[in-house]
């Protein structure tokens, strides 16, 4: 056990400042243990969001020494003994209080995402898919919605003006997941990503992939394939012509209208 120094940002939408805490740290502990000890012993009203403390729910996202991380999966032995560790809230989203941010942006974007379209000719229990085919989408369904990718993406991190047209990596993998779903009945996932979700604003710096605690290959396996296929379709003159003729009003799909 040793006593370490922590700087934790405290404040709300109107502003705030760093507070210093000296905290006892035990072997094997993670940043979230430290935050809990601060709550229990020094600042009972310190706001932090967490649930499972096992890297499964994606609630305790914050920035540790400037790096977007899950606090429950950041072990203290990552830092030098005498090093002051700085904990700040996610920068891309408005602060609610202390380490808690308002992540409703991500939920609004999710509401705009056209839902899974079940195949009309199959009844429940009749779905047949092979394991290799579902695995491509399953990679994206590992997402725990910690929103670290959304937070780190520089399209929105320092550009509030990009938030309305840009859904972000979390929703791009959702689009890719549905695009690759063997039985999804919608055929316009890529176009939707390009035209409605702002896929084109992404310039593939892979920051999202780097911070993903689930190690989902967001850029390589979702964004790039979708961009390539959109590009392929759009620059193929025949496809382009067909699109010009048929695309007015998009493919009329029976379900899942978007607000």
């Amino acid at each position: 056990m040793s006593t370490r120094n922590f700087r934790v940002w405290r404040g709300d939408a109107d502003g705030g400042d760093f507070a210093d805490f000296d905290v006892a740290v035990n072997e094997g502990e993670v940043i979230l243990d430290v935050v809990h000890r601060i709550q229990a012993e020094q600042a009972p009203d310190l706001a932090v969001r967490w649930n499972c403390k096992a890297g499964k729910c994606g609630s305790c996202s914050a920035e540790v020494n400037g790096m977007p991380r899950l606090m429950c999966m950041t072990r203290m032995n990552l830092f030098e003994e005498g090093e002051t560790v700085t904990i700040t809230p996610l920068r891309t989203f408005p602060v609610v209080r202390d380490l808690v941010t308002d992540v409703s942006f991500n939920y609004e974007k999710a509401r705009e995402m056209p839902a899974f379209a079940p195949p009309a000719d199959l009844k429940p229990g009749e779905y047949r898919m092979s394991q290799v085919d579902v695995e491509r989408s399953q990679e994206f369904r590992k997402c725990i919605e910690c929103f670290l990718c959304q937070n780190t993406c520089h399209v929105v991190r320092d550009h509030e003006e990009n938030k309305p047209p840009f859904s972000g990596p979390r929703l791009f993998i959702r689009a890719a997941e549905l695009d690759m779903h063997p039985l999804d009945a919608r055929g316009d996932r890529r176009e939707t990503a390009q035209d409605d979700q702002g896929l084109g604003l992404c310039n593939i710096t892979k920051c999202c992939t780097e911070v993903c605690p689930e190690h989902i290959k967001i850029t390589d396996n979702a964004i790039i394939p979708m961009k390539e296929r959109v590009a392929g379709d759009r620059y193929d003159p025949l496809v382009w012509l067909g699109r010009k003729i048929f695309r007015k009003g998009k493919q009329p799909k029976a379900d899942s209208g978007v607000e």
């Binding site: 939408a13 229990a40 009972p44 649930n51 499972c52 403390k53 096992a54 609630s59």
Partner: protein, 646 residues
């Protein structure tokens, strides 16, 4: 997030209010909305973060995709054996019958389960299940379930938008805690709570409420449960006048992480054992063969050779004893450690590294691989894990009608872990995810039906003001820090009401809890109302307290050992106790305990078991199918049995 209107209570109304946004709550919300009702879902944390995400192994449903011999009758039988025949048989029956439909339905919402070679939903082996039965996605099945239901809710919201329905027809209000239910003349009227972000109060009038708040695990220090599990629904229901049943039965999952200390209690999925992992003590001995109880000898192998053959030839070999129901395995680990054969950190070894290839382990158990790698520096493909029991699930909960999920309070329904009876004295792994789908749907359906017939409810200003005063109380108190009190409560439960219990210790627990009562009533919160976890915990404490008292009282009364209740001073099951459920009510400040007859199983369901098996659990007059002891195993109705327990 403006605090300007912090003192105005926000008023909302809906037909069906769902409290809890885990699997049961979301499934209920889907059903109630599909029935045409306006629905509000209250989520204690962010949408999609509920404790359901932590379920790993799978959802049990007798689809028969891997072994075609499986059917609902076999699943029903396994569930009763797991629960030591104390289950609400009608719930277990509905559960076994309806689980496959509930799973298949999820595929139409977009769920992607792992597949069999012929493209169906794959099913895996699990403790207590006779055939491979758990639909799964690697070891993150709960995440798939919650995400699928979350996305289904969003799609219903999109349908509403397209149809021109107002947004209020289906709302999810996140980071909100309910502190009180409003009841008038034994009928539900609505609920009161606060938004965690701002601290602003909310009063919701609703003629039907579904409680789906999960369990009580945070009352124990070593637990696999998330912070939300403070027994809110159990306590709300008690205060509203409903009954709790089976509160003495708490499941300690046999395999939680034990090291490092900060992760103690985090779950290690049972799939590790289902996929070939074995338990060893510090002497390297595979000890589970020494712990097969009499009632399970017919189904479990008594030697390693047979046990190992079972993985490839389950039809001709008995199952490995590592796959006994959880209560048995947890007790066995407890004894090994107590007798000095534990590991350095007080657990036992769970070894899959020496039994399966690294690729197999990484593919079948990806989250476990990461969890150990990142939190404990252990590579589970190369070395064994250290594991020990962790508080995981409460079998007890709100007493409900099996078909409708209705509680004793008109308009109040309950589904999922907060309800009681379905699992008897011990839940089988995999039966929770299927439970919350089956009864979540039923709760939504019957709550909607109730709302259709009910008068619109109206809340009074006095009720609302009283609830607000109550919630603000900790700011005016001069007592202790809520974290210290939670520690004190956890210490009492862990020391005196844990996995092995004794009458003297339970009495001591009740005395200590009584002393804690005043301190909790005087708990103090500092700071403001906006996102103040200390205040939130202060309000949760009284719920944890009343649930702890309920458990200790019932545990003291039941002087036998059964499932998730082990009395060192009263070992073994007593058939007379199998006829009795312990029921908890609250009268003013007083927690009351009463005995109540267990409902009598129908002859058809009794007929699914051999008499020789029933004889291990029941008194002869309960199961004899005719006058003679040599009765034929035909499922005919014996008049005498009915009279016995009616």
């Amino acid at each position: 997030m403006s605090d300007n209107d912090i003192n105005d209570v926000e008023h909302l109304a809906c037909d069906v209010l769902v409290i809890g946004a885990g699997g049961a709550g979301l499934r209920a919300a889907v059903e109630a909305r599909l029935a045409g009702k306006s629905v509000i879902v209250i989520s204690k944390s962010l949408f999609g973060k509920a404790h359901t995400v932590m379920a790993e192994g799978g959802a049990a449903a007798a689809m028969g995709n891997v072994n075609s011999k499986d059917n609902w009758q076999v699943h029903f039988r396994d569930t009763l054996r797991g629960g030591k025949f104390l289950n609400n048989y009608r719930m277990a029956e509905l559960h076994a019958q309806e689980a496959p439909d509930r799973i298949w339905e999820l595929e139409t919402y977009g769920a992607l389960f792992d597949r069999t070679a012929d493209g169906k939903i794959s099913q895996r082996n699990f403790g207590g299940h006779e055939y491979p039965r758990l639909a799964h996605v690697g070891d993150r099945t709960g995440l798939e379930l919650i995400r699928t239901l979350q996305q289904k809710l969003v799609s219903l919201q999109q349908d509403d938008a397209e149809a021109g329905e107002p947004r209020s027809m289906l709302q999810v209000i996140d980071e909100t805690t309910i502190t009180e239910l409003f009841v008038e003349n034994g009928t539900i009227k609505g609920a009161f709570g606060y938004r965690r972000g701002t601290g602003r109060f909310m009063a919701i009038s609703a003629p039907a409420i579904v409680l789906a708040t999960g369990g009580i695990g945070r009352s124990f220090k070593v637990t696999s449960n998330s912070w939300e599990y403070t027994g809110d629904g159990h306590a709300l229901a008690l205060r509203a006048g409903a009954k709790l049943v089976n509160m003495e039965f708490i499941q300690f999952h046999p395999t939680g992480m034990v090291w490092p200390p900060s992760v103690r209690g985090i779950l290690v999925t049972e799939s590790v054992r289902g996929d070939g992992g074995i338990l060893k003590n510090s002497e390297g001995q595979r000890f589970m063969f020494d712990y097969i109880p009499e009632v399970f000898k017919a189904q479990y192998a008594d030697n390693p050779d047979e046990a190992d053959r079972w993985y490839t030839d389950p039809d001709n070999n008995r199952r490995p004893p590592e796959l006994l129901p959880r209560d048995e395995v947890a007790r066995a680990i407890n004894s090994e450690v107590k007798e000095g054969r534990g590991t350095e950190h007080g657990g036992v070894y769970l070894d899959i590294a020496s039994r399966r290839s690294a690729e197999y382990v990484r593919e079948r158990l990806p989250s476990m691989y990461h969890q150990f790698k990142e939190l404990a520096d252990v590579d589970i493909t190369a070395e064994p894990m250290e594991v020990g029991p962790t508080c995981h699930y409460i079998m007890g909960g709100i007493e409900v009608d099996a078909d409708t999920t209705a509680s004793a309070v008109a308009g109040l329904f309950a589904a999922g872990e907060v309800s009681g009876g379905m699992h008897g004295s011990n839940r089988l792994g995999g039966n929770s995810l299927s439970d919350l789908l089956v009864f979540g749907k039923r709760a939504g359906e019957y709550a909607a039906e109730h709302a259709t017939a009910a008068e619109p409810s109206k809340l009074t200003e006095e009720q609302i003001q009283a609830a607000a005063q109550d919630a603000l109380q900790p700011f005016g108190n001069d007592g202790e820090n809520p974290y210290a009190l939670q520690n004190a409560l956890q210490a009492i439960n862990g020391r005196l009401v844990g996995i092995i219990r004794k009458a003297g210790e339970l009495e001591e627990a009740l005395t200590e809890l009584a002393l804690l009562k005043e301190r909790i009533a005087n708990v103090s919160a500092i700071g403001g109302r906006a996102y103040n976890p200390g205040w939130h915990l202060a309000l949760d404490l009284r719920n944890m307290y009343v649930c702890s008292v309920a458990t200790a009282l019932a545990a003291l009364e039941r002087d036998e050992s059964r499932g998730g209740h082990t009395r060192e001073d009263a070992p073994g099951m007593n058939p007379e106790w199998r006829k009795i459920n312990l029921v908890i009510t609250v009268d003013g400040e007083e927690v009351r305990l009463a005995r109540q007859a267990v409902p009598t199983m129908t002859p058809e369901l009794l007929g699914l078991f051999e008499e020789s098996e029933l004889a291990k659990y029941m008194t002869p007059e309960e199961f004899r199918r005719s006058d003679g002891p040599e009765a034929s195993p035909k499922p005919t109705a014996p008049e005498s049995t009915e009279a016995e327990e009616a």
